[in-house]
């Protein structure tokens, strides 16, 4: 007796928009460019799209993108988990495909954060004066905490508990820059050293300017469909093997139970279990690198090394192509592109690795890739496991 084959979700097309500087683009124009390219990469047309997943910084965001792109989707999702959003959106899209409630879901992201900076005052907190609404943000903003400050609080505690050093954190930025050298679109490509990171100005101790992601314009998109549908397309599909997401607290890091543990500790094991893999099976990783400390916490929490050993792991070249866990092979948010919510870029690069299209930083024979997004103040985590072969 045989059971019918389970309908499997695949990513059939990926693309980024131009980046990192798009002064003549609106946010929606970035979406349009990335989406057009991802559909072309898949060998599909706008008319094939019946699902849309995207998110941004205001409510009914997907509805707005749908209107601007001329789409009337019968499946849409705008789950906002900050930097982890796009791993969640692709996990949801895969579920929708496998449930048979959508056929072709376009997942798209766009931002012109860099070009908009000149048009508003500052980022990461109120403009001074005025009343803040009741909510968690006021319990640190009034004391002058910043977005970078939150990650610095976590970094300092990790250093205290595990002996992690500023040099080890800096080595993450050095490796990302080395990878960015091979990405012609990357925002920064000139090599840097650990000393360069440590001598860049401190933004919030122990994080220096070069421990922080860049600020960019840009977008990216992917097309999620069924393996059956993809079989008729010219493009090489990549299988969505499993995904999971988790949250530990909202925006006030003091409400996190342990500042040295990110939600990856929950989402990672669950995603690996759903995908039927272990950390040892992963050939290449794309890990959200908002700050160097984010990567150290993530490699520990996903189980690529023990808790507290992330510092030595990254310092010994663990993230480099040729290392234990080649990571952010496009140069990451630290050097290539970080338009605000980078999660979609992680998925694009993971798919390129599995297709063998990653250029100079191609990991030989990569068959399992992980994309992991981290959002908020280490508040959200979402892990997506992708594979070259059908499960």
């Amino acid at each position: 007796m045989s059971t019918p084959a389970r309908r499997r979700a695949v990513i059939a097309g990926v693309a980024t928009s131009d980046y990192p500087h798009l002064p003549d683009f609106s946010e929606h124009a970035v979406h349009a460019q990335a989406a057009e390219r991802a559909l072309a990469d898949a060998g599909l047309n706008w008319a094939d799209v019946d699902g849309l997943a995207t998110t941004g910084f205001f409510p009914m965001y997907a509805t707005g993108v749908a209107e601007y792109l001329g789409l009337h989707p019968t499946y849409y999702d705008e789950t906002n988990a900050g930097g982890a959003s796009f791993e969640v959106l692709v996990e949801h899209a895969a579920d929708a495909i496998e449930a048979g409630v959508a056929e072709v879901v376009l997942v798209t992201y766009g931002s012109v954060q860099l070009s908009q900076m000149g048009r508003r005052l500052g980022t990461g907190g109120g403009g001074g004066g005025g009343a803040m609404a009741p909510g968690p943000a006021i319990y640190d903003a009034l004391w002058g905490n910043t977005l970078v400050g939150n990650y610095a609080l976590a970094a300092r505690r990790h250093m205290h508990e595990y002996g992690t050093t500023a040099e080890q954190l800096a080595s993450v930025a050095v490796t990302m820059r080395r990878h960015a050298a091979d990405n012609p679109m990357a925002q920064y490509r000139d090599p840097i050293t650990v000393d360069d990171v440590l001598s860049s100005r401190l933004v919030a101790d122990p994080l220096h300017k070069l421990d922080c992601c860049v600020i960019s314009d840009g977008g990216a998109a992917c097309v999620v469909t069924s393996a059956e549908r993809a079989a008729d397309l010219a493009s090489t599909p990549v299988y969505v093997l499993g995904g999971a997401h988790a949250t530990s607290h909202h925006l006030n890091l003091s409400a996190a139970a342990d500042l040295t543990v990110s939600p990856a500790a929950q989402s990672g094991p669950l995603a690996f279990e759903r995908a039927g893999i272990t950390a040892d099976d992963v050939d290449v990783a794309q890990l959200y690198d908002s700050f160097t400390i984010t990567v150290v916490l993530t490699v520990e929490d996903l189980g690529f090394c023990a808790k507290g050993e992330g510092g030595p792991f990254v310092e010994e070249g663990g993230l480099a192509v040729g290392g234990k866990l080649p990571t952010n092979t496009d140069g990451g948010g630290l050097s290539a592109c970080h338009p605000g919510m980078r999660g979609m870029f992680l998925i694009v690069e993971a798919v390129r690795q599995l297709r063998g299209h990653a250029g100079a930083n191609q990991v030989p024979d990569a068959s399992i890739a992980v994309a992991h997004g981290t959002g908020g103040m280490l508040s959200t985590g979402a892990t997506l496991v992708l594979g070259r072969e059908a499960p």
């Binding site: 004066g129 803040m132 009741p134 976590a154 505690r157 003091s254």
Partner: protein, 149 residues
């Protein structure tokens, strides 16, 4: 106490609701409090509608002695809020208040060189009166005299 000013006047002002007003009112009286569940005793901060451990809505404002320790800290050297551009460098710290049952408050360590702050450092509250209806707790290295209430 309360005469000393650490942050400029043009900082954002908080607004309160029914769940949070008690915390801000205690601050005006220079009392450091945290919300404590009357059903299971779990403390929480920031204030919220129900206990995150047992979901009871019944809570009290537990008054703390005003001392504590630095759980972690950072020296902010680039202000993102324009109002604080002239205040950097300043120390933002997560403080574990004594008697707080493990809750942490994001606050500042003032009254010392930022370079002298360490994790585990004993601190005590110092109140900054900002407006008739607003005072904020900040912390300074312990002087040995207990609460600076």
């Amino acid at each position: 106490m309360g005469d000393e000013r650490f942050f400029p006047d043009d900082m954002p002002m908080p607004s309160a609701n029914a769940e949070t007003a008690g915390w801000w009112e205690a601050c005006v009286d220079h009392r450091l409090v945290v919300q404590r569940c009357l059903a299971c005793g779990t403390t929480r901060h920031p204030p919220g509608p129900v206990c995150p451990a047992c979901r009871s809505a019944s809570a009290e404002w537990a008054e703390l002695p005003g001392t504590g320790t630095v759980y972690t800290y950072t020296v902010v050297r680039q202000a993102f809020m324009p109002a604080l551009a002239g205040t950097v460098p300043y120390v933002v710290a997560a403080i574990e208040p004594d008697g707080g049952g493990g809750v942490r408050l994001v606050s500042n360590v003032v009254g010392c060189d930022p370079e002298d702050v360490t994790i585990g450092m004993p601190v005590e509250v110092v109140w900054e009166d900002i407006a008739p209806e607003l005072a904020l707790p900040r912390f300074r290295p312990c002087t040995g005299g207990g609460s600076a209430r």
